[in-house]
Subunit: 368 residues, 2 copies
């Protein structure tokens, strides 16, 4: 992805590994500010308060969090503690567990003296692989957009939810990778960006990164998604996922389920873009996915920019009113037209996923 | 409804008819401020910028708008101009047309000298009738809540959307009248209040009036409605309507359709509370209902209260991003379990409605 024309990743190690640079996503779209994580605690805080978010980027940040922890103390105890601390930051995105298990499996057998260096290179490998997975998702998903274009010869309208773009990953994005790939190939594409209350990752992040890349887009209230589909203005929906169960059930940002229902009711294809590390083969279906309950003040308050340019939080509700804030919902596989993975597009079924990931199908049966 | 314990209507004529007092709903929930409309233009502006909103209250305000216009000049030309001006304020709520046609039919045949006085009394009659209709909707709808309570012996969870409460009417509300009636009868009830972006009438108005009445409630992001239903936390959904077609299709605040889809998918009964004047017998189905497109800045910006107590508008989106803002959607009758009218609860079908309104069924056939 380009920021002001310069190719940039959302996370990168600083020279001599003294820290890791991220974009503080809590300040977008109003301010682009980079921030340096210098310790395990910095990494854990960045994930918890959502300076970084999006399942793949959470995984990448956790991997670097382990590297930062081992830079201070590379003992096995420290490695375990670091993984525990990071694991506790957010419950729903399975990439967090995936990245931490990968780091632990790679690092535990090593002598302490080697762990730190290998941790940094393993975290870098997690990031490089994420980029490759997403490029591949982009190619497969762009094929779906191209099919619509070849049939209609007009701008293809894609609807997405939340941010599963470049900012949710190391580069390219998951749900938006097909959009960027199609756009770069000259296919005219327009994106309906649902704002994604309560944290507005659509209005704040997806709109911002699409604007940076020059992709035409329109922000809508989440409530408008059904109406827009009823009026034939959406060719396909592509969303990301925080965790997919082995049967194709998809946990994603709260509100995804409502879009899937509207897509089904209006005959609009509904795809989830899911890289391998986001599939939880240990879960037979979505009922076992832990759903994060976040603080009520994300609903009662919202952050925005005043006319004088300063960013502030304002209260939306009466002070006597309580609020509930489930951060994710589960879209049942029956509503998902297909899953776009780095290995191709498959039906949202156990069989569909197992055919693409035969090696994982076995471990699933073992632990189910 | 009580405000700070005092029984209050949302609109009332001032002594000697020199003006009409409303609550400026654009300032809630942060500030309760009454405002005096002194002219036709004041009334039209109040409807346009949504100082008053909600189909029944729009109708009532329009009726008083005619009275204010005739207080200056009671000629037939002035009457026609006033109705035209008011009719142009907002397109979707059919109560506006209903109230203006009623005023015109009543006033046109009169000698000019009588028109002004009759206009004030007719507007008062529109208001009094609205209160009676809503009380009746309250009784019929409370029966549905009571049925759930008798079956479960626990708090009944009602979900609503937008504000179809006291503030949307002259008193009592439509969708919330059953809630208040059940609550006042001692049935334990809890309301899920969806915030209703972009203008947040749920978070701002419904939460505020439920708090004033002491009804337990919880605000959620609109996106959370499906998840809450998936987890069995909703016994029934009750929404209002800006216009119902003769076949039971319901135009209501944008996002209503998504809630209806989620209700259907989870076996949750979905009711629309619709007083007679909100039924448009001239429309065979919802496809002919005009859907208001409002300004993009209702999506790109939001109003809230800063810590210092002042109310401000903040920008949510990047300045380069466009936004679309359809204000209503149409929920097809097939998703509506029943319509709660002042004459009882009926199926959302032409037959169901015609049985309750036999006199209108004929006019419908005539003009369909």
């Amino acid at each position: 992805m380009n920021i002001n024309g310069t190719s940039t990743r959302t996370i990168r190690p600083l020279p001599d590994n003294y820290g890791v640079e991220i974009i503080d996503q809590t300040l977008l779209p109003h301010r682009l500010e980079f921030r340096t994580l210098r310790s395990l605690e910095d990494a854990a805080e960045a994930i918890s308060v959502m300076r970084v978010r999006g399942a793949p980027l959470i995984g990448a940040t956790a991997a670097y969090g382990v590297a930062l922890a081992l830079s201070e103390d590379s003992s096995e105890g420290r490695l375990e503690l670091a993984c525990e601390r990071l694991m506790a930051t957010r419950p729903t995105a399975v990439n967090l567990r995936w990245a931490l298990e990968r780091m632990q499996n790679r690092l535990t057998p090593l002598p302490a003296a080697q762990r730190c260096e290998v941790a940094w290179s393993e975290a870098a490998a997690v990031c490089d692989e994420d980029v490759m997975l997403n490029q591949s998702i982009g190619r497969h998903g762009a094929g779906l957009i191209k099919q619509v274009y070849e049939k209609t010869s007009r701008t293809v309208n894609v609807m997405t939810h939340c941010n599963a773009g470049w900012l949710a990953t190391v580069d390219w994005g998951t749900a938006l990778a097909p959009v960027y790939t199609a756009f770069d190939a000259g296919i005219p594409v327009h994106v309906w960006v649902s704002e994604t209350r309560p944290r507005n990752q659509g209005a704040a992040l997806t709109a911002w990164e699409l604007a940076q890349h020059g992709v035409p887009h329109t922000v809508i209230a989440d409530n408008a998604a059904g109406h827009i589909m009823q009026h034939g203005l959406v060719d396909l929906v592509i969303v990301g996922a925080d965790r997919a169960a082995a049967n194709g059930d998809i946990a994603n940002k709260i509100g995804t389920y409502l879009k899937a229902l509207a897509a089904r009711d209006n005959g609009v294809p509904f795809y989830a873009a899911v890289p391998g590390p986001t599939i939880d083969w240990r879960l037979n279906d979505g009922s076992g996915i832990p759903i994060e309950e976040r603080a009520a003040d994300e609903v009662t308050h919202i952050q925005g920019q005043m006319e004088n340019g300063s960013v502030t939080s304002v209260r939306l509700t009466p002070s006597q009113s309580d609020a509930a804030n489930p951060a994710f919902d589960v879209t049942p596989a029956r509503l998902v037209t297909g899953i776009i993975t780095e290995r191709g597009v498959c039906p949202a079924t156990r069989e569909g996923l197992s055919r693409l990931y035969p090696e994982a199908g076995t471990s699933s049966r073992r632990t189910a």
